[in-house]
Symmetry: C2
Subunit: 233 residues, 2 copies
């Protein structure tokens, strides 16, 4: 059954957002009467039937409404410096949502190669990945955030950052799957040592994610994968 | 230091392969006398100095030769059905090489969407990822192989396959990091139940890789990541 994202599913006659409506009518060419699934990204999945269809409009009648609990026992939050090639960061967002993440913060660091970010694109990628992996919870994707602003936020019990210098404990040995975690992954060229000190004094622990040198998006994806799968053992 | 792939590093005056020579001369515009690194993909890393440079030729004089042991205690072999969009499979190859894999077999199954494969492209991706992650061992990338031919090969002690039907043990609980492993990941639409039976009777164990439905390349990357990182705890 085709799934569509619809932020609000409270009422019984639901108008699909423009982009989803376009996809339903012009791309999938669904007809009135067809069954579809609707996700609000907050645990609700609705089975519905296509009602009136216009060229750019599409409404659906709710047949059945199911609520799903949160998917993880402990929250996984990745704060990652966007890569120079945006497709690599978008790829990370897609994979992290598929594998399992709660929140992604694009991180502005001294060496971050970009000061702007197409947040709408990242949200589209996240929504598509949520549908693809048949999840019912849409991870939050924040606007570009400075390291200072991230540190100023209420901290989860586990705070880690990927760090290549010196010998650091492996994420796989440090990470506790039963506690909320925030993991910071630096940009190409890594965080500066000043930023690393900032993080340490905010209670972040430096970890390695395997021995090899990983690209930013690879390190972020590997950390997310380990944490999400470690919760599902 | 710029790294180049050169399958044979036995002699002391080394001619770079054409593609690498082109990259050195036309792209990086290296000059005679510049220091470069050479990798044979079999554990040898050479430090060399650029010698004669032609438009399409490039030779280097060996200054120092170092041998590195194999990177893993137990081999990781992934056999994965190529995706319809080749870039998704190439992405998996890149990430698997970065995170750590020994061998990748593109798998021809009943539902595999392609009967041809640009092996040279995959090898280029693997070589680039080896350099990127500063590894000295180049994983093997096989030609497109049928499931039957794969099963007929000498089996490693651990044989697993990703399977969504029914309740299966999680890869994370089944995988033993100290033993060589072969993991089969099916195509979009999964393996057929006949293929699953074939695998079972060949001693393969069905495993789940997390609860969510993952794309082929995501499942393959997640499995590789878990196994490689589990060896580095």
């Amino acid at each position: 059954m085709h799934l569509f994202y619809c932020p609000s599913l409270e009422v019984d006659l639901i108008e699909l957002p423009e982009e989803e409506a376009h996809h339903a009518t012009s791309v999938l060419r669904l007809k009135s009467g067809d069954r579809i699934g609707l996700l609000d990204g907050r645990g609700t999945r609705v089975e519905a039937e296509q009602a009136e269809m216009g060229k750019h409009r599409c409404a659906a009648i709710v047949l059945d409404r199911t609520s799903f609990p949160v998917e993880r026992t402990a929250r996984i939050h990745l704060a990652v410096a966007p890569t120079k090639q945006m497709e690599r960061f978008e790829w990370f967002v897609e994979k992290a949502v598929e594998v399992g993440v709660d929140r992604i913060t694009p991180l502005l660091t001294d060496r971050t190669e970009r000061s702007k970010l197409r947040l709408d694109r990242l949200e589209r990628v996240a929504i598509a990945a949520m549908k693809q992996s048949q999840r019912t919870w849409l991870p939050a994707v924040d606007a570009l955030t400075t390291l200072g602003a991230l540190i100023a936020q209420p901290p989860p019990p586990q705070r880690l950052f990927g760090w290549c210098e010196g010998r650091n404990e492996a994420l796989m040995n440090v990470y506790a799957p039963d506690q909320d975690a925030l993991v910071v992954i630096g940009p190409e060229g890594d965080l500066t040592s000043v930023e690393a000190d900032q993080l340490r004094s905010a209670g972040f622990v430096a970890v390695s994610i395997g021995a090899a040198r990983l690209r930013t998006e690879t390190a972020a994806c590997a950390a997310t994968t380990w944490m999400s799968l470690a919760q599902q053992r």
